[in-house]
């Protein structure tokens, strides 16, 4: 693939010293949408966090390449500077740290594209949250919209979105989808973890590749129609068996 931005090569992935996934290979092109599926506790968060460099998750052997650069040993914030950002499944709450402060800082550091961030803020309905303490006392939906906003606003090369739609109402799932579309239009590549069939239905026309994680392996990477209907029909184990001859 000539326009490849993210490449994971033979990566063994650990959390807190425990091996969760072995020999993972993954390749994402510019402006592509990839979906990662797998049962609870299969290692989706682990995969995304290790790629992003978030401790205690780590890639122990193998490589992570971003736009041709080996970033396997880069510290977390350096990866962000290079254009690889993770949206947390569950971001922590902060006291006394205002959302507006974070945005001011991001603007100064990354020189945000204001027309992009304004559209994004509009889509994700962020304005009401600006004066609030970061994630403190926010509803589930507010958290998800804000975390998606903070992640996409710097217009990264690759955005890793860990369940941006879980616990979110139908309207807000629509908003998050619009945000993803806008990002894709600006050539941001998106790796999306989701469990919701609603979201899966919505992203079908946009999806380039679906990855299935099961029992410690990335068992299959393929087209949406090869994977998703099978998972819905037979469950993860059934789908894994069919796609990989799992037993």
């Amino acid at each position: 693939m000539s326009n490849e931005v993210l490449r994971v090569e033979d990566a063994d992935i650990y959390v807190a010293g425990k091996k969760i996934l072995r020999k993972v290979n993954l390749s994402v092109g510019a402006g592509e949408l990839h979906i990662v599926m797998g049962p609870n506790a299969s290692g989706k968060t682990t995969l995304l966090s290790a790629i992003a460099g978030v401790e205690p998750y780590e890639v122990k052997s193998g490589k992570v390449m971003l736009a041709g650069e080996d970033i396997t040993n880069y510290p977390l914030h350096k990866r962000v500077e290079k254009g690889l950002v993770l949206a947390y499944q569950n971001p922590p709450s902060f006291k006394g740290v205002k959302v507006s402060e974070i945005l001011k800082w991001l603007r100064r550091k990354f020189g945000l594209d204001s027309s992009f961030t304004e559209s994004l803020a509009e889509i994700l309905d962020i304005h009401k949250l600006l004066g609030r303490d970061l994630f403190s006392g926010m509803s589930g939906g507010e958290r998800k919209r804000l975390e998606t906003y903070l992640t996409l606003s710097i217009m990264p090369k690759v955005a890793l979105l860990d369940e941006p739609d879980s616990g979110v109402d139908l309207d807000s799932v629509g908003r998050i989808l619009e945000a993803i579309k806008l990002a894709l239009k600006h050539s941001v590549s998106v790796v999306l973890v989701t469990h919701s069939t609603h979201m899966l239905n919505l992203v079908r026309p946009l999806t380039n590749t679906v990855h299935l994680i099961f029992k410690g392996h990335l068992v299959f990477s393929g087209l949406y129609d090869e994977v998703v209907p099978l998972v819905i029909k037979r469950g993860f184990e059934g789908a894994a068996k069919v796609l990989r001859g799992w037993s």
């Binding site: 401790e55 977390l76 914030h77 962000v80 500077e81 902060f94 006291k95 740290v97 303490d133 903070l150």
Partner: protein, 410 residues
């Protein structure tokens, strides 16, 4: 000029230690004779600029300050015409005691000269240096009155007696900066402060301290708030110190209220023993004591807070938070609720911890370096909502908060 009985009692108290903080030998410090100085003499000294700069006070602010004390020399600047016409007074306490009945009437009524050796020393040898501020009934002074107490000479004993009197229905905002030139200087600062807040009057008092490794600091403060009055204090220290010990006491009349904030940033090997105490003496009174305590290096921070419910219905709340930034630092919170009335509702919360790894990692995942993330978290920890602070004062406070959080390593 000293009262015979008080002087006698004070002399006996010269060796009486304070109940808190390390005992200090006061004999090694130099007590100098007070003198008046010219503005130019003060403002052109580099050491004055150094000391005031550490408070975040610009030369402009020092020039406009109502009262400046440098070691034993003082300068009470002319007030703006409009304030003077309304009867507002800012002068040295010594001068006020010579000229004004009200000063003589209230001086030493809240703090007894024989309280401890520090007060006794200030009473006997201080010659009533310090500032006297008077705001007449009904006069609301919205622009902050700045006072600046600086030490620029090593081994100085700066002994001060400050009085603020805000008469019935009046309002004032006072900002006091205390600082020393040179980060290693040895000196003694004893500030005895008596504040009177009249009926339905309001006083906002912000105090910023920037001392040195060798500074011994013993403020002694008492405040009396009359019916319906409000007293807000905002105290910040963000420097090294040899030892600092203070425990201001506020007494509240009927329907009076107070909010007492302190932001302590301990560093080096300093001892910071700082508290606030409020007595709910009148029915309908309320008090909140809020403190944020940060300890770096080998500092020891003791955060005391006390609310005494003497009458009811009344309400008091203590919130005492500590953040430890190094393995060798120490924080202790000592909240005390003391109820003598079943209608007094008194509560407290206290917590001490370190910076959360998950918070640090999260911010780094959004591009902050570790240092930047720390600074942001510390700033968040230190920022308390203090809605009573006037905007200009808020600016000074924010500047100091910025300074503290930018050097957030243990």
């Amino acid at each position: 000029m000293l009262n015979k009985n008080m002087a006698e009692a004070a002399r006996k108290a010269l060796s009486k230690p304070a109940p808190y903080g390390p005992d200090v030998d006061l004999s090694k410090y130099d007590v100098l004779n007070p003198r008046r100085i010219e503005p130019t003499e003060i403002l052109e000294q580099e050491r004055v600029r150094d000391a005031s700069g550490r408070l975040g006070f610009t030369p402009e602010m020092v020039r406009k300050a109502g009262y400046v004390q440098v070691n034993e020399a003082y300068l009470a600047s002319a007030l703006v015409e409009s304030l003077r016409k309304q009867g507002v007074v800012v002068m040295s306490t010594a001068e006020a005691l010579r000229k004004l009945d009200i000063a003589r009437e209230v001086a030493w009524t809240l703090i007894r000269p024989d309280t401890d050796k520090y007060v006794a020393t200030a009473y006997l040898y201080g010659k009533e240096q310090g500032y006297f501020i008077y705001v007449p009934p009904g006069v609301k002074v919205r622009t902050p009155i700045y006072t600046c107490l600086l030490i620029t000479r090593g081994m100085t004993a700066q002994l001060l007696h400050n009085i603020i009197y805000v008469a019935d229905g009046a309002e004032a905002n006072v900002v006091t900066g205390c600082s020393i030139a040179g980060l290693h200087a040895e000196a003694l600062h004893i500030g005895v402060s008596e504040f009177f807040v009249g009926k339905d009057a309001k006083l906002t008092f912000a105090m910023i301290h920037a001392w040195s490794k060798g500074a011994v600091v013993r403020p002694r403060t008492a405040v009396k708030v009359a019916e319906g009055g409000r007293y807000v204090s905002y105290y910040m220290i963000y420097s090294a110190v040899h030892s600092l010990q203070s425990y201001p006491k506020v007494t509240l009349g009927r329907n009076a209220s107070t909010s007492l904030y302190s932001i302590i940033s301990g560093e080096g090997e300093g001892i910071y023993d700082v508290g606030s105490s409020a007595t709910l003496a009148g029915p309908g009174s309320s008090a909140e004591i809020i403190s944020r305590n940060l300890a770096k290096g080998k500092s020891r921070v003791v955060a005391r807070a006390e609310i005494v419910g003497e009458s009811g219905p009344s309400k008091g709340h203590i919130e005492c938070m500590g953040l430890i930034l190094s393995d060798t630092a120490y924080i202790s919170t000592v909240p005390l609720l003391d109820s003598k009335n079943p209608e007094a509702t008194l509560t407290h919360e206290a917590a001490i911890g370190k910076i959360g790894e998950d918070q640090l990692t999260y911010l780094m995942s959004k591009g902050f370096s570790e240092e930047e993330a720390r600074a942001l978290i510390i700033r968040g920890f230190l920022s308390v909502e203090a809605p009573d602070l006037p905007p200009q004062v808020k600016l000074s406070v924010d500047r100091v908060t910025e300074l503290i959080s930018s050097k957030g390593h243990g």
